[in-house]
Structure formats: structure tokens, C-alpha cells
């Protein structure tokens, strides 16, 4: 009875959510989105109303989140990888032409003039209310001009103070017109300037008035004879170019493969050092005859309980060349994070500190699961402690911990925080600000996509796919060799 009520309530909640989510989609005429939403809701109702399909009832909730926020982004990533999407290549070709023309507007003698009143809409975007000498009024925004009479509904004029505070926006706004654009000159006057650079469909190019300089449309940009391109481009499909660039363009290939090599070294070194130290500690504390064992254990795992993002930043500052603790303590003046190899050593050391308590915990657990008779038998057979460890304990530990070591490898391969919060990928070679000495592929990609040098989403997406492939391949091979694989068949 209780179960039935709960079920009705939960399904009611789903229905309510579905209706709430549907309204904005209908309003925006997003029919595809609406169809997807309806299909998902129908699936949920089907799963929980049919008496059959028991596994589906348990798998559906998690799977829906998995598909929506993990599988779909992966596929979207794959699709942008085939385009030149990024800064300067966001919109359509028409958007780019409009942007080029309005950006090149200058006031020429005889330009039409308007009285200007700056108005703002509900969403806080500004627009121009323009009155021409004949007294006709227009409303202009980034989309263009439309005739109005007086201040239209939903708009409010800015007063002098408000206009002063937003003068940058006002200076930037250019209302596109047929031959150029209307820009402000102060806050009460505007002029219709003529575009110096105009698009001509005949040659599919942009021509600058006066000089006759021309930029021809090519590959998502307008390019002149000297190879200089205008900053405003548009989004096109580039096929596999983003992928092949990694192999063929030496300016990209060299940093990419150098980063990949270091990435592998970092992941392997992180796993091996943390495992070795964690195991050494676990073995040392694995005896009942040791006094203070609980205290040792408790203090030893403290790094695991500290917030790792904060401790990474603390380590970064301990390595600081000017006022870091390590230099002051040892009276050194080494720029730890400033030279490639010391920076690499530093990030591995930091990773060791952060990671070995975990390895200590899991190795302790695994050691407890190894029957004592096994090592005792080895001793009776005359094995030295080292031989007993090497031939009996270690293999058993590896069998038990291999899956965790592989997961740890996969995690460290993409350990964004470990690098971004300590070195930010640096130090960078003088001639290449895109890939630093400690960069992992993931931080390198992050900089490509969101970095200050201008976003290159398309190429970043292609690199992401390479990372997917590498991690999946290495993990698949390693898993094949572990017991974990067999369990699945059980």
C-alpha cells in the first residue's frame, strides 16, 4: 500500500517536471528538444508501469543521467572535432560579413545624422532610439533598424548618469544598415557611417574602399594575397583536418607528442611511486608487535583527508622561488617550477604526497586478506624475507590490486588538478606558449579550448578524442590481463 502511494507520487512528480520543462521548449519552438523530452518521459512511465522489465527499473535512473551528461557530451565533442569552431569561427558567413562591415564604419562628409536616445530593454541590453532630421523615428540594435513612433513598449530611456556608466557599451554598439552602420557620437548624437570594407558577391570577397585591398573567402576566413586573414570568420566543416594536423603539422605535432610522452611518464611514475611508498608503509605497519601502530596509521593517512585542491596550491607555494618554504628552509634559491626537470620532479613528488595514503590504505586491506600461512610456509621452506615478499606477497597483492592500479593510472593520466593547480603546465619554452614542460594532454587541451590565446574548440575536441582513445586502449589492454575481466562472465 505504502509502495503504491510512493510510486504514484513519484510518477506524478515526473509528470509535473516534464510539463514544467516542456513550456520553455514550446515557447522557443524547439520541437526536436520537445520530442526528446516527451520520449524520455514516456520511457520513464513505461519502465515503471509495466510489470515486466525488472532490470530496467533499477538501471534507468542512473543511465538517464549517464546518457544526458556523459555520453551526449562525448558525441557532441566528436562532432565539433570535424569543424573549425572557435574564436573568430562561431557563426555563419553572413554573420561574419555583417561584423566586418560594421567594424569598418567611418564617418564621411555628408553622412546622415540622427538625434540619439539610448534605451534599454527588460533584459538590460541597450538599443538606440534614433530620430532623423525629417522627424522619423527608428529603433536600432545589433540586428538592424526598424521604424517606430516614440519609445516602444518594454523599453526605458537611460538617464545621463546611467548612460555615462555604460558608455563603453554605447560606443561599441553598431546598428547595421545597407551601406554601413549607425554608431553613436557622444550620447545624444549618432551618424550613419559608410563601411570601408564591403562584401562583394561577384568575387566572393571583401574589398576596402579607397585602397582597393581585397580579401577572398577561403576556408572559413577572408584572406588577402599576402595570406593575412580578417579576424571575423565563420564556421565550416573541415573534415579530418583537425586530426591529421596532429601528425602532419610540425608546429603542432612536436608539442603534442612531447606532451604525450611526458603524460605517460607522469601517469606511470605517479602510480609506481605512490604504490611503492604506500606498500612499504603498509608492510612496515603490518605486524601486531609494533607499538603505536594505530597512531602511525592515523597520522599517515592525514593527507588523504585534506582538500586536495588546496594542498596542491599549498605545494605550489612551498616551491615558490621567491618566498616559498622549501627555498627558505634549505637556504636555496632554486626556481623549482621554473625549469623543466625540476618542475617535473616537483609535480611527481606532490602527487606522491597526495596519493600514497590511498595506496597505503588499500594495500593494508589487501595484506589482511592474504592468509598468514602462505608467508609462513615460504619461511619454513627456507625463503629469506625478501624472497617471501618477492615470490609470495607481492604477486598476491598485485592480483588483488591490479584493477585499482589501472584505475589509478587512468585517473592520473588525466589528472588535471595535479598540473593546473601547481604549474599550470609551465614552464613554457620561449618559442611556444601553447605546451609547457609539465603539461598533460588534458591541460594542453583545456588551454586550447579556453586559453587566452583564443579558443580553438574544434582542434581541442579532436585532441580530446585522441585522449579518449589512448586511455581506453591502455586500460582495455591492462584489464584484459587481470582477474577483473573474468568476473564479468560469472
Amino acid at each position: 500500500m505504502f509502495g503504491l502511494v510512493a510510486k504514484i507520487l513519484l510518477l506524478g512528480l515526473v509528470a509535473a517536471l516534464a510539463v514544467w520543462a516542456a513550456f520553455p521548449l514550446i515557447e522557443a519552438h524547439a520541437w526536436v528538444g520537445l520530442a526528446v523530452e516527451a520520449a524520455v518521459s514516456a520511457l520513464v512511465f513505461y519502465a515503471y508501469l509495466t510489470p515486466r522489465r525488472l532490470p530496467l527499473k533499477y538501471l534507468l535512473p542512473g543511465t538517464l543521467f549517464l546518457v544526458a551528461f556523459q555520453v551526449v557530451p562525448v558525441f557532441l565533442t566528436m562532432s565539433t572535432a570535424f569543424s573549425n569552431f572557435g574564436d573568430g569561427h562561431r557563426g555563419t558567413k553572413q554573420d561574419a560579413i555583417t561584423a566586418i562591415q560594421t567594424a569598418s564604419v567611418v564617418e564621411v562628409p555628408g553622412s546622415p545624422e540622427y538625434a540619439l536616445k539610448v534605451v534599454t530593454k527588460g533584459d538590460n541590453a541597450i538599443a538606440f532610439l534614433l530620430t532623423d532630421p525629417a522627424g522619423k523615428q527608428f529603433l536600432g540594435d545589433a540586428q538592424g533598424l526598424k521604424p517606430v513612433a516614440g519609445v516602444p513598449d518594454g523599453y526605458t530611456p537611460l538617464n545621463l548618469g546611467e548612460a555615462g556608466a555604460r558608455s563603453q557599451e554605447i560606443t561599441k554598439l553598431a546598428v547595421p544598415t545597407a551601406g554601413g552602420a549607425i554608431r553613436s557620437s557622444g550620447i545624444s548624437r549618432a551618424y550613419e557611417g559608410r563601411a570601408q570594407r564591403t562584401y562583394q558577391a561577384g568575387c566572393d570577397c571583401v574589398v576596402e574602399a579607397g585602397t582597393g585591398h581585397r580579401w577572398t573567402a577561403h576556408d572559413g576566413s577572408f584572406v588577402d594575397a599576402a595570406g593575412q586573414r580578417l579576424p571575423q570568420g565563420w564556421r565550416i566543416n573541415v573534415g579530418l583536418r583537425n586530426f591529421t594536423q596532429v601528425a602532419t603539422d610540425s608546429r603542432i605535432a612536436r608539442p603534442f607528442f612531447r606532451t604525450l610522452a611526458w603524460n605517460l611518464v607522469f601517469a606511470v611514475a605517479s602510480v609506481l611511486t605512490t604504490f611503492a611508498l604506500g606498500m612499504l608503509c603498509a608492510l612496515a605497519l603490518h605486524t601486531d608487535r609494533l607499538r603505536g601502530r594505530t597512531l602511525y596509521r592515523m597520522l599517515l593517512v592525514l593527507p588523504y583527508a585534506m582538500p586536495s585542491f588546496a594542498m596542491l596550491l599549498v605545494w605550489r607555494d612551498m616551491f615558490n622561488a621567491d618566498f616559498g618554504l622549501i627555498n627558505r628552509l634549505f637556504g636555496l634559491s632554486v626556481d623549482w617550477l621554473g625549469t623543466p626537470w625540476s618542475a617535473r620532479l616537483a609535480v611527481i613528488l606532490v602527487q606522491l604526497w597526495l596519493g600514497y595514503p590511498y595506496m597505503f590504505l588499500v594495500t593494508t586491506g589487501a595484506l589482511q586478506a592474504i592468509p598468514r600461512q602462505m608467508t609462513e610456509a615460504a619461511q619454513i621452506d627456507g625463503a629469506t624475507p625478501w624472497q617471501a615478499f618477492r615470490r609470495v606477497t607481492l604477486p598476491l597483492l598485485l592480483v588483488a590490486l591490479a584493477p585499482l592500479l589501472i584505475s589509478s593510472f587512468a585517473f592520473n593520466f588525466n589528472n588535471f588538478n595535479a598540473i593546473y593547480l601547481t604549474t599550470e603546465g609551465g614552464p613554457f619554452p620561449a618559442d611556444d606558449p601553447t605546451a609547457g614542460a609539465t603539461d598533460l594532454l588534458i591541460t594542453y587541451t583545456y588551454r586550447l579550448a579556453f586559453g587566452a590565446a583564443g579558443a580553438r574548440y574544434g582542434f581541442a575536441a579532436a585532441v580530446s578524442i585522441y585522449i579518449f582513445a589512448i586511455v581506453a586502449l591502455i586500460s582495455a589492454i591492462s584489464f584484459r590481463r587481470t582477474r577483473r575481466q573474468e568476473e564479468v562472465y560469472a
Binding site: 521548449l25 597520522l299 599517515l300 582538500p307 587512468a410 588535471f416 587541451t445
Partner: protein
Amino acid sequence: MTGWFARIGWRHLVGVLAVLFSLFPIVFVVAAALNPLGTLSSTDAVPTAFTIDNFANLFARTAFGHWYANSILIAGVASVVAVFLSMLAAFAFSRMRFAGRRVGLLSLLLIQMFPQFLAVVAIYLMFARIGDYWPGLSFSSPWGLILLYLGGALGVNTWMMKGFLDTVPRELDESASVDGASHVQVFFQIVLPLVRPILAITALLVFIGTVNEFLLANVFLYEPNSKTLAVGLYGLIAEGVSRDQNFGMFCAGSLLTAVPTVVVFRFLQRFIVSGLTAGAVKG
């Protein structure tokens, strides 16, 4: 003497060295948090003075209270819901046999190999679109970020839980079924109470992971009051000058961030060793 060292002494040596290694950055953080000058350059390896100014400044000059609340909210909701979703799936994988079970288990592992944030560009564009329709679920909102984190709910955790569930005798739930319990009752009344240790551990791991998550949160949360601890504290010492000056405040904030983790950690310690290795060893 050499005999003693070979048997016990080296164990103390390793233990002491490891504890020193573990503790010295933490002691440094405490020293910085208690340092009256509050700068990096004036902080020594061990506390030499005592003040709570850094803690007071943290609340007075930054939105630390907001950050803390956001982190607890996001990590709390995300970890509880994620563990529940994961447990549901683990129950199906452990107790039921169905077409696609093997493929499902393996693809969970494979998808987990693609960390969610590799697709950060796509996620950004996706949520920009979501924000057009449902502004409450997009950037600078905790709910959008929670939804996103839940995308990673199924994965390694599901494997760990399945491994643990496999060690719980099936006879227990079968006998309940024979007595007339529905599968829902079996799940909530028989299985859930039995797997409490692994639920606690997984929730703790997800909680720690979420509090420490930086990349997605940094892209997502740009309004000052919407930030999490990771994003907010990072901002405190991000720039050149503030990096030295705000270091004491930053360390005070880090210590406060560790409080909930350490409390839960102490509370759950007896589960931790068995829970962490459950999937691997007992599986």
C-alpha cells in the same frame, strides 16, 4: 640490536619518516593559518605565533560562508543521490541476469575511462543552450552542476558496490522473496541495510571528489556568491600580489574545508579499509 632492527626497528623508522613526510605540509598550513601577518613569505615551517585574524578576515572580506554552503550543498546532494543511483544499478547487475548485462558492465568501466571533463567544451555549449530554456539549471547555479556531476554517478562506484553485493549471500533475499516480499521490499529492507558500509565509503569518496572538483566548477560558477570552496579559494591566491598576501586566509579556509571530511573520516574509519578494497579483494 641488529636483530631488533631487522624485526621491529625498521618498521618504526619507516613509520616515523612517513609520518614526517605526511605531516610537514599540513603543519605548514596550520602555521600559515595562525600567522598574524598572513603572508606566505613570513610563514615558517612550524607555528610561531597565534592569531585568529585570518579566519575572521576570511568571513569578513570574502564570500567564504557562501562558498562553504555551496560546497556542502553540491557535494552533499551529489554524493547521496549518486550513491543511491549507483546502488540501484549495482543491485540489478549483481542479482539479475539480463541481456546486455555484460556489455553494460564493461561499458560503464569504459565510459569511466573518459573523464567527464574532457568533453568540457561540449558541456559548456550544452549548458549554454539549457540556460536559454531553463535559466535555473545553468551556469552559476548549484543545480546545474549537481545534474552534471550525477552524469558520473554510474561507474567505478557501481563496480565496487556490485563486488560488495556479490559477497552478500543471495539466500537472504531469496528467503525474503519466498516469504512474499516484492523486489522493492527486498531492495530497501534486506539489501540496503546489509550494504551500509560500502554505501558510507562510496558516499565519502564521492563527497571528497566533489568538494575537490575544480575544472567543471570553474567553468560553471562565475558569480562570486555561487562559487564552491575550490573555485573561491583558488581565486584568493590566483593573482601575483594576492598570492603572497592572502596566503594565511587561504590556509585558514583550507583547514575549515578539511573539517567535515576529517569528522566523517574519523567516524567511518572502521569501514574504510574493508570498504575501499571490497570491490577488489572480496569481489
